[in-house]
């Protein structure tokens, strides 16, 4: 790949009349920033990221202070204390929607980050050392691949449903996070392993080995950078998948659970009331969920095209 072009000392490789060579990354960046859909998707994703990080910017109401006598107020827009109305228990819908962004996004980020760590570790071990290590890791990949992601989550979370992990957002997020990580590393690991296998016999890797570079250095400096591009393209799509998985698990009562707040919980509570004349209980959370997922899917699609060396 072009990152490894050897510059001649004293001469800028980009200087001169020949075609300018850029790295895969800067090519991708140039292609992406010209696309309107990518820019919109990035803005939307950033908007919800800010919402998750500092919900107070968007609402001053505490989502957990609910007054049952204020139950099911219709949206008041700018004329009252509850712009989007209140739910069954009298909680402010706007505040619930805004504060619901954090658990959904945080869960997705934790799961993806942990899966990536595992994938880079196991994928490079399996691809580089082959033999017994690879046999064991590949078997494990196959076993976890055989149980569909969502089914596994349903099974394990309902098995461990009554085990107490404590209170607070982090403790509530722990069981779904563990399960989603357990079955989320598989896809990434396959990609990492495949690109390690592809790269490790290339000349420049051989050269590094011959010069006496240690295994760790060869893996981290020379092999893994090649795996980053294909894996990066998967990340946004994966985040979108986790956000929607959270909604399913919350709907079944085995994901993030009340009294914590998440979009999934708001959707599962609001669904029954939609046709009963209270669409404002379902629509805000549902819209946020859909828009976020759409933004990440658009980003993932664009990244996949931009980072595909074949399409350069």
């Amino acid at each position: 790949m072009t990152e490894h072009t050897t510059p001649v000392p004293g001469i800028d490789p980009d200087f001169g009349t020949g075609p300018v060579t850029r790295s895969l990354w800067s090519d991708a960046f140039h292609a992406l920033r010209r696309r309107v859909d990518v820019i919109i998707a990035t803005v939307v994703a950033l908007f919800f990221a800010v919402m998750a990080a500092v919900p107070r910017l968007f609402t001053a109401t505490d989502p957990k202070s609910c007054d049952i006598s204020q139950s099911k107020i219709r949206p008041q827009w700018f004329d009252g204390p509850h712009p989007l109305g209140t739910d069954l228990h009298g909680c402010d819908v706007l505040a619930q929607t805004v504060h619901g962004a954090r658990p959904s996004l945080l869960l997705a980020i934790i799961v993806v980050a942990a899966s990536l760590l595992i994938a880079f570790l196991l994928g490079s071990l399996a691809g580089y050392y082959m033999g017994v290590v690879d046999a064991v890791i590949s078997r494990a990949l196959e076993v976890f691949f055989t149980i569909p992601f969502l089914l596994a989550a349903l099974l394990i979370l309902s098995l461990f449903r009554s085990v107490e992990f404590g209170h607070g957002l982090f403790a509530v997020m722990l069981p779904p996070a563990i399960v989603l990580i357990m079955f989320g590393w598989v896809e990434f690991t396959r990609y990492v392993r495949a690109s390690v296998l592809e790269t490790k016999n290339l000349d420049y890797v051989m050269a590094a080995q011959t010069l006496g570079a240690s295994d760790v250095r060869v893996i981290f400096r020379h092999i893994l950078p090649n795996a980053i591009a294909p894996v990066t393209a998967l990340i946004p799509t994966r985040i979108a998948a986790i956000i929607s998985a959270e909604a399913v698990l919350a709907f079944l009562g085995i994901g993030i659970r009340p009294p914590e707040i998440s979009w999934g919980i708001s959707i599962s509570r609001g669904a029954d009331w939609f046709s009963g004349g209270y669409p404002h209980l379902l629509l805000p959370a549902l819209t946020c969920l859909l828009v976020t997922i759409l933004a990440f899917v658009v980003l993932g699609d664009a990244l996949r095209d931009a980072l595909d060396p074949k399409l350069r």
Partner: protein, 335 residues
């Protein structure tokens, strides 16, 4: 070829064994941490010691290893494998045999999958072929943004929107307009009806097919056809003076269907997960619906045996796809 098939079969059986071991270890750990699942049998009532012991004995939970956290309980695992081998998959909390429940459930799931597969093939082949034919022009751009859009709609949200926002008002209107047993009213009925399995499954099946995999199918068909558009044999066919339709159908579409066939195995897994959501939300009495209600009731025996069976199904489909790949593509020789 024979040796290849044998090796793949042995591998599949071994993977299946590991899957069952994993499920067993997980459920054992859950029992050790949670306390006896026999309590779920009694619901809200508080049973005596003797009653619990009797239920534990019936569900083979009386082995002492279940009280020792960290013990993998290999003894009961061997027993369970033995009873699986004789076709005994245990009973649910209401003492109905799981095999009987599954036997009732499988036909509905198969119907759902038939509709899903037809949706994939029709949507994928038609949209993918059009997109490849008009590469980078308006139809291609439209289809690509359309596929991103349906990719973004999770199956769960799609069905939720359909059930609560569309089906209820439309179904009611159809009932008033055409009568409650008319084809139109049944088509938009928000829940499954056992008397009219096909009609009430069509819309959920199409939705599951469209959101759970159609997008990747379109992309795959497009990519594999594009490869063929510039291939030598297509240029030869055109040079011979063959018509455009003939070239497209016999030289491009036919040659690009091999990777499409192999994708079925991959997309099938997605559809299996989707089937759990679809059947659960739409109250379809299929394998997925069984898992969904069992999760609600904490009915562990049903969940474990249905997940095991679904894993078997998935392994078999993937095995068949791999073998089919070897048989279909003359360039691949495994022995």
């Amino acid at each position: 070829m024979g040796r290849y098939i044998a090796r793949r079969c042995v591998q599949a059986v071994f993977t299946l064994f590991l899957v069952m071991l994993l499920l067993h270890v997980l459920s054992t750990l859950a029992i050790q941490l949670n306390g006896s699942p026999a309590l779920a049998y009694f619901g809200d009532r508080s049973p005596t010691e003797a009653q619990i012991a009797a239920v534990e004995a019936r569900y083979n939970l009386d082995h002492p290893c279940y009280d020792q956290p960290g013990n993998p309980c290999l003894g009961p695992f061997a027993e369970r494998l033995g009873s699986y081998a004789t076709g005994d998959f245990g009973t649910d909390l209401r003492e109905r045999p799981v095999t009987e429940l599954l036997a009732q459930a499988v036909p509905n799931t198969m119907r759902l999958f038939a509709i899903v597969t037809i949706t994939w093939l029709v949507v994928g082949m038609v949209c993918g072929s059009i997109a490849a034919r008009y590469r980078n022009r308006a139809p291609d751009q439209t289809i690509r943004s359309f596929s991103v859009l349906i990719d973004a709609f999770p199956v769960f949200v799609m069905l939720l929107v359909y059930k609560y926002i569309i089906a209820v008002p439309v179904g009611n209107w159809m009932q008033d307009r055409f009568g409650s047993d008319s084809t139109w009213a049944l088509l938009f009925k928000p829940s499954f009806s056992a008397e009219n399995p096909w009609l009430t499954l069509i819309v959920p099946g199409i939705l599951l097919g469209a959101t759970g995999g159609a997008a990747s199918f379109i992309r795959l068909v497009r990519a594999s056809q594009l490869e063929n558009y510039n291939a030598d044999h297509v240029r030869t066919a055109r040079a011979k003076g063959l018509g455009d339709t003939r070239v497209t159908i016999f030289h491009i579409i036919r040659n690009s269907s091999i990777p499409v066939v192999t994708a079925i195995g991959f997309v099938f897994g997605e559809a299996l997960s989707g089937a759990v959501i679809t059947e659960g939300l739409m109250n379809i009495r299929g394998m997925g619906g069984l898992v969904w209600t069992a999760v609600g009731d904490s009915d562990i025996p049903v969940i474990i045996s249905s997940v095991t069976l679904i894993a078997v199904l998935f392994l078999m489909v993937n095995l068949l796809v791999d073998l089919g790949y070897a048989a279909l593509d003359p360039r691949i020789r495994y022995d």
